[in-house]
């Protein structure tokens, strides 16, 4: 258990630090790279809960495809560094603090009701019961969760058509 805790803390710190860095960077490319760092740390966290397939897929799809798209867009559009902006309505700044406080209070309220013991126990060697392994995903996805899977294919088709239409309209 000690190793798991240690790894969890290390990767959680990296994930949070990268996530903060996304906000703190002026250059959008650095923010994108920090996001990649966050995704890699998250993938490591998935490994610590034995969802190795999801961890690998996270890197292949999210860090390897979606972020490549982000970076291409940032480079293609040549998005400039963030300039400090003149604020038109300073009063809103003071309204933000109570709203942020409200959101944090709500999060604490929700988290109070989650017991860590209700998470599925990590099985030792019983591949059928495990969540996140290749076997369990392979069998469950195409039997119990067949409808979401087929709907996903239509969704992806819609995304393809939509992206191509939107992009072509400007360049045409």
């Amino acid at each position: 258990m000690e190793l798991e805790k240690l790894l969890f803390i290390v990767f959680a710190v990296i994930a949070i630090a990268s996530a903060l860095n996304i906000l703190l960077q002026r250059n959008p490319l650095y923010s994108a790279l920090s996001l990649i760092g966050t995704l890699l740390a998250l993938s490591a966290l998935y490994v610590t809960v034995r969802a190795e397939f999801i961890a690998a897929v996270q890197i292949v799809v999210y860090a390897g495809a979606i972020m490549v798209l982000f970076i291409f867009v940032i480079m293609l559009l040549n998005i400039p560094k963030d300039q400090p902006q003149i604020e038109k309505q300073k009063a809103l700044r003071y309204l933000a603090i109570p709203f942020a406080g409200l959101m944090i209070a709500e999060m604490f309220y929700v988290l109070r009701w989650i017991r860590l013991s209700t998470l599925p126990p990590v099985p030792a060697g019983n591949a059928e019961q495990a969540v996140g392994t290749t076997w369990s995903i392979g069998t469950r996805l195409f039997t119990d969760y067949l409808l979401p899977f087929e709907v996903t294919s239509v969704l992806i088709l819609m995304a393809v058509v939509g992206a191509m239409v939107l992009a072509r309209r400007e360049g045409d």
Binding site: L29, A56, I59, V60, A63, G64, V68, I71, F72
Partner: protein
């Protein structure tokens, strides 16, 4: 636990050491193969003191030269990314080698050592993930150099890599239909039958087509001819590594050759039985030998292709990847799954 850690550290260091040496000598092999194909001899003078040694010390001389070359960082370049990019290219290239099985096991002083650093049950997907991350080094190198040639070369190179990654991934899916596991160690062990000759490519002949698709896709992934337009000298100066000098350039070259070695290793593991061969059962040390011979054969094939075939133009390249290779790999999956469903 510390025993395990020690074993891992030693294996990792041994493998990295072998890899770095291998990369150096693959560059020599490249130059020699190029020379012999072009009817000349290649580097044969750099030896040790009085002895010519057939040019075997050439990589050492090249390495030393590169260390002492001036390290220029262009004025307008984005310093942080400029230094990060070669590391981002090199590190994923190095990381793939911990899941590849080099042999079955050896026994030293009564202690049995498995000849793979670690055994992941998603090993193949891990390799694919590292390939996906390898794109970033190139695109960031192109951008951070602040040079028009670099940027175009970087964007084109990365667009080429992601296009062929699809064909690569889908051809791997075809193999998965037959192997039923993502674990590379298990895949190789399953090819142990029949006096060590039950390689996947003999057992499932349809995999020959899949191997051809996989190999072509991996040549494009590693930016080798005939797919090396983004870095060919006469085309785009040197593409994404135009502005790089000295050791950062060396890191890019190392990454490229490491990717070639990785692609060949995965191809031997998936299609040619990995470390299997005659008599491995009785003499486990033959395993790494067979593995090395097979990987070298595939690397030689890549070099042979490089010095024989002319380059693709970039639009031909993309068209080939999307309009031919991708549908071909999809059709392969359909055929393979139909065959498995209705036969045996």
């Amino acid at each position: 636990m510390t025993n395990l850690l020690l074993e891992w550290v030693i294996k990792t260091i041994v493998i990295l050491f072998i890899l770095v040496t291998a990369v150096a000598y693959v560059t020599l092999m490249e130059r020699k193969v190029m020379a012999w194909i072009q009817m000349r001899v290649g580097p044969n003078r750099v030896g040790l003191g009085k002895f010519r040694l057939w040019g075997l010390m050439q990589p050492l001389a090249d390495g030393l030269k590169m260390i002492f070359k001036e390290d220029i960082i262009p004025l307008q370049a984005n310093r942080w990314l400029y230094v990060l990019a070669p590391a981002l290219s090199l590190i994923p290239a190095l990381m793939t080698f911990i899941v590849i099985p080099y042999g079955s096991h050896i026994t030293i002083f009564g202690y049995t050592i498995e000849l793979h650093v670690t055994r992941m049950n998603v090993g193949l997907l891990y390799v694919l993930a590292l390939t996906s991350v390898g794109v970033y080094g190139i695109v960031l190198a192109g951008w951070s150099s602040n040079n028009k040639y670099s940027l175009m070369g970087g964007l084109r190179s990365s667009a080429q890599m992601i296009s062929y990654e699809l064909a690569l991934g889908l051809s791997i899916v075809s193999v998965l239909l037959y192997t039923g596991t993502l674990d590379l160690v298990e895949i190789v062990e399953a090819q142990s039958g029949f006096h060590g000759l039950a390689w996947n490519i003999f057992h499932y002949p349809l995999l020959i087509l899949v191997f051809v698709i996989f190999y072509i896709a991996s040549l494009a992934e590693t930016n080798r001819t005939p797919f090396d337009l983004p870095e060919a000298d006469s085309e785009l100066v040197a593409g994404y590594h135009t502005e790089y000098s000295s050791m950062k350039f060396v890191m890019f070259q190392m990454a490229e050759y490491l990717n070639l070695i990785t692609a060949s290793s995965i191809a031997t593991t998936l299609f040619f039985g990995g470390w299997n061969g005659p008599f491995v059962g009785r003499l486990p040390l033959l395993g790494p030998l067979y593995f090395t011979v097979k990987v070298l054969a595939l690397i030689f094939l890549a070099m042979w292709i490089r010095y024989t075939v002319p380059r693709f133009r970039y639009d031909q390249l993309m068209r080939f990847g999307w309009k031919f290779l991708l549908p071909a790999s999809i059709v392969n999956i359909i055929i393979s799954s139909t065959v498995i469903l209705f036969m045996r």
